[in-house]
Amino acid sequence: MSTRSLETEGLTKSFGGVHAVNGASVAFQDGKINALIGPNGSGKTTFFNCVTGMIRADSGRVSYRGDDVTGAAPHRIAAAGIGRSFQLCRVFPRMTVLDNMLVGVRPQGLLHRLRGGHNAGDIARARQLLGRVGIDHLERSEARDISYGQQKLLELAGVLMTDPETIMLDEPAGGVNPALIGRLGTLVRELNAEGRTFIIVEHNMEMVMSLSHHVVVFDRGAPIAEGDPATVQNDPRVLEAYLGV
């Protein structure tokens, strides 16, 4: 195994009496496509939110590549090299597709921020990424005017604009038609081949099993099994979590 990726230790978050994440200790593999699966309400999204600083965990630790990032603000997590998408696809509705992309340009000091937002370098990179997900012809449309599938692609491209080493996707295939799911899978594989680590929450088992190298299964806020897709698929605890009780 190469260097360490994202790791948590005893991560816990409760909402009132609901233990959404319950002492989760997980280690994801660097340079691999990791999947995080589990029944509805098992705490996957809450886990994502705690890790990326969107919500503050009650207790536990989060580290990334060996650095403690527990409780770090979302923009610090982004600066550390982790990009994420949201379960309910989030784009900036009243900004153009191109401007949506430019939000992700990494700021480097005061002068950099005062520079024109529409400079050739940033735009070229944005267009290249939009082309990669196949929506470069929409760059002048407002994000609210493009279709839902296109918004999902835009969200992914926007995350890529931050040049993240690790990409966390929350249900990338949710509400997306089969043809697009295929395209997404190809894209994830390509990006992974470039050296980017993925952590993907997904209910589409076909996609999970074909894509991922390492699978972590959540139930009631904590991992109950992990391993390669074949092993996990045949784990009785996993079957019980999905079918039982």
């Binding site: 990326t52 969107m54 603000a73 979302p74 923009h75 997590i77 982004a78 600066a79 990009g83 994420r84 949201f86 309910l88 696809c89 989030r90 784009v91 900036f92 509705p93 009243r94 900004m95 401007d99 430019l102 939000v103 992700g104 340009v105 990494r106 700021p107 950099h112 921020r113 005062l114 520079r115 024109g116 937002g117 529409h118 940033d122 267009r127 470069d136 012809h137 760059e139 002048r140 449309s141 005017d145 493009i146 279709s147 839902y148 599938g149 296109q150 926007g158 995350v159 604009m161 931050t162 949710g174 509400g175 997306v176 038609n177 043809a179 697009l180």
Partner: protein
């Protein structure tokens, strides 16, 4: 099937189609005509009263543009921005009276002081969003009202404060108005220039992202709190300049009027009416609202009728032009675009994508 504005080499030229060029030309012409009209106004005004109405409107415009640094870029609606115009007015006056400063120096130093004061206020109030932020901003102005009223030694209390005039008494009243008209216009111009520069910068793109979806922006690496604070302080600075300029012109400060929620509401109304996302939105709003206010006051005297009329106006705008007057006009113009871009171009695959995902999308939008 790609839009006509897209050149064959794949780059979308900013110049675009002939229509775009005509549109740009039209905008430039309109801008120049507007500017000429503004500059000629003092010469065209028939009497000192009309001239003073012009100064009032210019003052409203300066306030609204100052407000719109926060409102327009971040979408945080501050109803208490009179705090900064009021502080700007008092700071300017007190620096002249007690500090013996030159009036113009007092104006600048006063506004800088207000900007410094705005830092802790921003740190405290920008932690909350939406309605909570609105309430905090109102609380701020109410606190200042109480303080300025009870701290009579310094502020003159309820009886008000006379502000020394910057121009000698030899300068007659209409001439005073004319000078202050141009001074206000210059202030508006500088504020607009700064707004425009921010709008096209990377900083501006980050701010607009905050307005659209703050958490999402932060997850993409935008240091949202810092950005909000910086633009908040800039906003306080320009609002204070507007307040100070008004104090120098009007020559008298009354706490009730300076630290009123009504003044803050005017700033919000003007900006919303003109369009908070447009550079000239607050100016257009200030002209419409300012003119109407003066008209109603003139027609119906000191009654509260002008407030009713104003409320009605706001209602109509929110209902029929939710984005404001300027964006509404922009949409109207866009209808005449030859290659109707309102018809979205999509491939069969996209169409399929849309028809198959309609259900989950709707479900998700409800829960959003």
């Amino acid at each position: 099937m790609r839009s006509a504005s897209k050149a064959p080499d794949g780059t979308t030229g900013t110049s675009g189609t002939t229509f775009d060029r005509v549109l740009l030309g039209g905008k430039v012409l309109l801008l120049l005509a507007g500017l000429a009209l503004v500059l000629a106004f003092p010469g065209l005004a028939p009497d000192a009263f009309i001239l003073s109405v012009g100064v009032t409107i210019a003052s409203y415009a300066a306030l609204a543009v100052g407000w719109n640094f926060v409102g327009g870029f971040t979408g945080y609606i501050s109803l208490g921005h009179a705090a900064y115009s009021g502080l700007g007015g008092y700071a300017t006056a007190l620096l002249i009276i007690d500090g013996g400063l030159n009036p113009w120096l007092a104006l600048g130093v006063g506004a800088l002081g207000v900007a410094v004061v705005a830092v802790p206020i921003g740190v405290a109030s920008l932690r909350v969003r939406g309605a909570s932020f609105v309430i905090v901003s109102i609380a701020m102005v109410l606190i200042l009202l109480l303080v300025s009223q009870s701290w009579a030694d310094v502020t003159g209390g309820s009886s008000g404060l006379r502000v020394p005039r910057p121009f000698s008494d030899d300068v007659l009243r209409p001439e005073q108005h004319e000078r202050f008209f141009y001074l206000h216009v210059a202030l508006v111009a500088v504020a607009l220039l700064v707004w425009w520069a921010i709008d096209r910068s990377r900083f501006g793109i980050g701010l607009k992202a905050i307005r659209e979806d703050e958490d999402k922006a932060q997850s993409l690496g935008v240091p949202t709190f810092k950005y909000k604070l910086v633009v908040f302080v800039i906003s306080a600075f320009f609002t204070a300049l507007a307040g100070g300029m008004y104090a120098l012109w009007f020559g008298y400060l009354d706490p009730i009027f300076q630290f009123s929620i009504l003044i803050g509401s005017y700033m919000v109304l003007m900006s919303l009416l003109g369009g908070i996302r447009s550079l000239f939105g607050p100016v257009v709003g200030a002209v419409i609202v300012g003119y109407s206010l003066e008209y109603f006051k003139n027609q119906y005297g000191d009654s509260q009728f002008h407030l009713v009329a104003l409320g009605l106006m706001l209602g109509l705008v929110v209902l029929f032009m939710p984005d404001g007057v300027l964006p509404a006009i922009g949409q109207l113009v866009n209808r005449f675009r030859p290659t109707a871009t309102s018809i979205r171009e999509e491939s069969a695959a996209d169409l399929l994508a849309r028809t198959t995902k309609t259900e989950p999308r709707q479900a998700e939008e409800v829960s959003r």
